[in-house]
Symmetry: none
Subunit: 208 residues, 4 copies
């Protein structure tokens, strides 16, 4: 019986450890080379396992891929949950933006894994997109709409505001190659300038 087939049964220490190793290796490899560009061998090697042993934990390449996607997605989602309807909109939104930018800085691989999946049609996470994510987004868009209705924010389409936030923050992870080519600043300094520019534009706009 394969490890996966055991469902929710308790796992040995080795099982837990190896699964973590596999997830780490898979994130590393998939985010760098994409799904088709990655090989099971690569992941096995990076995880310090033999290929058949790796396939003992996850029977198919796609299973590994889906598992690592799901792992990272929950982290990806979390910051949005903290958007507090009771708080001040400017502070709440800026907190969220800052948090997302920090994630792009500290976990760019997860961002790239996610972006890659999107680019190719997101077939492996459609249920998640149309389920968990959609619910949360609708809830938080409601919050933003409340703020707008209360005159605390300019009247914009809430979901497109979220798209803007995601796009601008994840850009620093996903388009890292371009940024490195165009920005001579060191990484820290670059993220610093990004932060202040984002803050100015999102909150105050370009015009004086």
């Amino acid at each position: 019986m394969s490890a996966r087939a055991q469902g929710s049964k308790k796992r040995t220490r080795i099982q837990v450890q190896n699964e973590q190793r596999i997830m780490d290796a898979a994130l590393e490899v998939f985010s760098t080379y994409g799904y088709r560009g990655s090989t099971v061998d690569q992941i096995a090697q990076r995880a310090g396992l033999s290929k058949p042993n790796l396939l003992y934990y996850y029977a198919k390449k796609q299973d590994i891929y889906v598992a690592v996607l799901e792992h990272t997605l929950s982290d990806w989602l979390q910051p949005l949950t903290k958007l507090d309807p009771e708080g001040e909109p400017a502070e709440q939104l800026w907190n969220y933006i800052e948090c997302k930018l920090e994630l792009s800085r500290s976990a760019p691989k997860a961002s790239r894994l996610f972006a890659n999946e999107m680019l190719h049609g997101a077939h492996n996470i459609e249920p998640y997109l149309r389920g968990e994510l959609k619910s949360l987004v609708e809830e938080k868009c409601g919050v933003i709409q409340v703020w707008i209705d209360a005159g605390k924010l300019k009247p914009i389409a809430p979901v497109h505001l979220l798209f803007m936030i995601w796009a601008t923050t994840q850009h620093y992870a996903d388009f890292d190659a371009q940024i490195k080519a165009l920005c001579q600043d060191k990484r820290e300094e670059c993220f610093g300038k990004a932060s202040t520019t984002l803050k100015t534009i999102f909150l105050d706009g370009l015009l004086p």
Copy 2:
């Protein structure tokens, strides 16, 4: 001798026609499946050529890829060149943003091709990034800085403004799958709301 090896010599009608077909097919296929996920067979089939015939025009898979990248890159660059230092900043920037958004709507495949290349390290277009693109970006950042110094724009880091514009507009092409999942609006309506939201935030900011 392969068709490519002839260098700058004049091309036959058939050559021109087939090369165009190949570029179209390659954009379609590479943008959908990525480099590794695409097969020469697929491209040949879509171009209506036999595989060896395709390789008669471009000797290697990577040659096709680089060719289609270069083809699309020139289109991608052009809108920025039209940013006019003599014009009004608000109008000029908004024109640019609108133009980029329109490109994401009308040519999403090109955007995805480009995004994919970025995600994987941009090894095939580094020379372009550090050459042509960098020069143009530096020039236009100079223009923006002049506007800032003249008090016509808030003091932000020009290159990060460009990053924001690119990120937010290309997002509608690159993350199409996510947008479709989260936005029940029809395509036109969605781009309409995107446009007004972008305009509000970039020019005026969120705060009232």
Copy 3:
């Protein structure tokens, strides 16, 4: 991980057996059709393995080729090592010649494999030629020179004597097709006459 990549680790019974099978098949095929004329499929079939299974043991066609070359080279070298400085020159040399001729008779494929590699520039065994072989040749040329200086041999260039011995004995393996066409004798008889002719000429020369 491929079998070869394990380096010097101990090998399974199956590994040893299959590697031997591959070496036999490769000698057969490469010596008959040359490197480029041989296909991995041919070798696999002759070894009773599937093509990918063959490539599990030797990752590349050239690896098989180099391996079989190295295998046969050590056998090829050995007779020369037995040239004894203490012995009588005539006897020692004649033993060597006879031994080499016998090798051409019993292992013509090895001879042809080696000749083929030579004809094409010996790029795969240069290190061997300039290393192991050269050392041995220099040592044995020293021995021959001592015999010459002692007046026990006519004054000839020792290394060219070796070339002559190699050329004349290996000729019976390498130019087998020609010999068959020109010599109606049966194989045994032909080698018999070859032996006496070589003996006469090498030791006594043509002139009475």
Copy 4:
């Protein structure tokens, strides 16, 4: 109608010139890479012709190969014809040996082409081997036998003497790579020592 199909009809100047170019290119390429290792493209390029144009002269790769083999074979044969029954055996044989050694020096490619064909079974020149060559060899062996019967040569098997001469002289062309590796002498010096060693051994033998 192809050029070849015209048989013995007179050829235009261009035809003659191109055929010569092709023969030169084919000798160069085939002798270096072997039959299977050579491509029609390579030969065409070296001959300064387009591939289809080359195939206008020789319809198939094998036709080119056979043609160049036949071309070189006649040159290869010729020295033996000059062995004069009326002359002194020692002088006649030495002339022949010297002549063959000189050919190995000046036309090593032809030698290698021939050797390669031999190694692979000589299927393309069997008719020649069993016809023209065999007749000539039998005739000249008769001459040598006469010399032996007259007591002017040691009693050896004449055809094996020829084999020895061929083997030892052609060795300097065919095993060039090995000779270069083992012999630090410059080319001229090496052939000089070869010549004197051959002379000593063939005529007088090793023993004093």
